[in-house]
Symmetry: none
Subunit: 400 residues, 2 copies
Amino acid sequence: MELDLARELAQEADTKIVLFVMDGLGGLPHPETGRTELEAAWTPHLDKIARQSSCGFTLPVGIGITPGSGPGHLALFGYDPMVYKIGRGVLEATGIDFDLQASDVAARGNFCTVDGEGKITDRRAGRIATEHSSKIVEELRGISVDGIEAFVEPVREHRFVLVLRGDGLSDEVSDTDPERLGAPPMTARAKAPAAEKTTELVNRWVAEATRRLAGKEPANSLVLRGFAKRPDWPPMPETFKLRAAAVAHYPMYRGLAKLVGMEALEVGSSLDDSIATLRENWGRFDFFFVHYKYTDTAGEDGDYDRKMERLTEVDAAIGALTELGPDVLMITGDHSTPATMGGHSWHPVPFMLRSKFGRSDLCESFNEKELVKGSLGTFPAKEALPLAMAHAGRFRKYGA
Amino acid sequence: MELDLARELAQEADTKIVLFVMDGLGGLPHPETGRTELEAAWTPHLDKIARQSSCGFTLPVGIGITPGSGPGHLALFGYDPMVYKIGRGVLEATGIDFDLQASDVAARGNFCTVDGEGKITDRRAGRIATEHSSKIVEELRGISVDGIEAFVEPVREHRFVLVLRGDGLSDEVSDTDPERLGAPPMTARAKAPAAEKTTELVNRWVAEATRRLAGKEPANSLVLRGFAKRPDWPPMPETFKLRAAAVAHYPMYRGLAKLVGMEALEVGSSLDDSIATLRENWGRFDFFFVHYKYTDTAGEDGDYDRKMERLTEVDAAIGALTELGPDVLMITGDHSTPATMGGHSWHPVPFMLRSKFGRSDLCESFNEKELVKGSLGTFPAKEALPLAMAHAGRFRKYGA
């Protein structure tokens, strides 16, 4: 659904929607047993909810498309990930919970190694340790160019974020990363006349930073890419007339939620912490995005058994979640991360929605094989929120 | 399918298509039995057809979207309801079978109550009886402004339709309804320069009408909204190369059918009347839209048992319909109206299509649980007619 139409149809109501996201939920059959992580895990609570729900699969971006965390979540928040795109600089800043202002310009940085002629010999500076990287970042913090503030923040290993803050900055600045070995870092170019001032500032910052890095192999140079400003999107609370909160511990997901206008609540790292935060804030919001990270981590590590255990851990906590009595409960993931693949994948993601006004299906349990019997079929993830809005009595009729 | 493509593919053939619409067909489980109206109803004929049909669900407008009668039917006639929209004035005129001309401008009117200062105290004039309203309408019929004909017709209770007829009229006229209490009816404004003359006529008509209503509480004033002209859409007979007829008793559905170029046949109010009309006109047309209203009425009234009985009533008449031997028979609804909700809903609508060239599915009966096994899945309602066209041998090959 287009956001304009959502805005037209949305109305306030005294109902609560919970979107529970198990990151990387979807899986693939184990080569020996033929069973996916969800099929193998002991999940009596999830299975019970499946029997009371409308079931199916979400398609995060499109058939055959493996989503990053950004598109996967934006879709679940109702934003078409083919339309609402986040620049790499912004995603990186978001991922470390950097509080980007509307006029800031952020870029993703890599420390790299250059030879005597200035040509890149290692694009990741030997993947230096994060602690090492943090120390180098300290030395780059003092650089001042023309009264513009330049924030430098470490991310992980050789990666960092550069954020320029000041008036009249533009993000139409080309990358300095040649993205190949044997070439020197490039000089940034303005992609539009309005970006000439910013481009000059970037090049001056890079010149001074490079001077300070000289001789400090392996991180004796740097490259920048993905200059971007914080997107100016229709906020979710206004579009969907929802007071929306994020219960997410990891900065990346808090940041994504904030980009669409959710309030990111303070929360600890465990599932119990999430439920407690949910309970404490139950009266203040209409919509809760609850994020559980560790299913994805286990999948990324290629650890089938651990992913299975994580699913069982979630299942045990589901009772406390349902006791809060949401009018609409959605349980799904942002994408699939099959342990057998050790990474994100394009496979549709298990989904169920429970509400008083839902049709119940013939699914006996919550897993990839059984959900094929669901009435929702495989549908775009961006339609999950509109579907929840309808079940929550928060959409008025279309046309007379 | 875009109508342009339909026009390109359509060819004549000696085949007949019947679209049988049970208004508000789709339902939800009864809270005690867990069975939907269709599951609970005795429908041996419909169930038999389901075993011989390609089955699934239509999605009238989109996921989570609750359609009004207009969009719900337009979709089944092959018109994308997100593209082909009907102004409220036209829908209202259509609903009372008013024969709108292409240059007419129609508006929906409400009688209302104003206080001594002219501020609205009741937006519906106490929902005065239709008979009362009809008498007031009589008094407004004589108003003449500048040689423009002004038709005033009662609708129901406090509602009426105003139709202006003359040359050079525009529907770019703003509402006079402030849509809130405590404010006076507004003066109409031209939304485009070409609408200035029409706007002036509207305001003069309103001034005279308001003068005549003065002192006649509770209907001592009026408001107008949804100025609109009859849409100028590609007619269905030309686009799909079909001689198309509507067998519908209620003015609203006859009107909608006429808007897309169908011939609305004279027909009584019972299902037997519909079948008789169908039989009498069988040779004259290729496509028949047959409308059955009472499933929706029962659903709107929240009467589960009556909706169930209505379904059984339909089932008993289905034999006579199939005896006519349509090449393609589609049985579906324009939207869902679950009795448990007492109103239209967003839920996909049961659908089946029987034809000599159809795949048959594993569905044993015609209801919301069983149709999930259907091969058609959940598909946009606007694709139902193209699907029928194909099965009727009325679409040529696409590309060489």
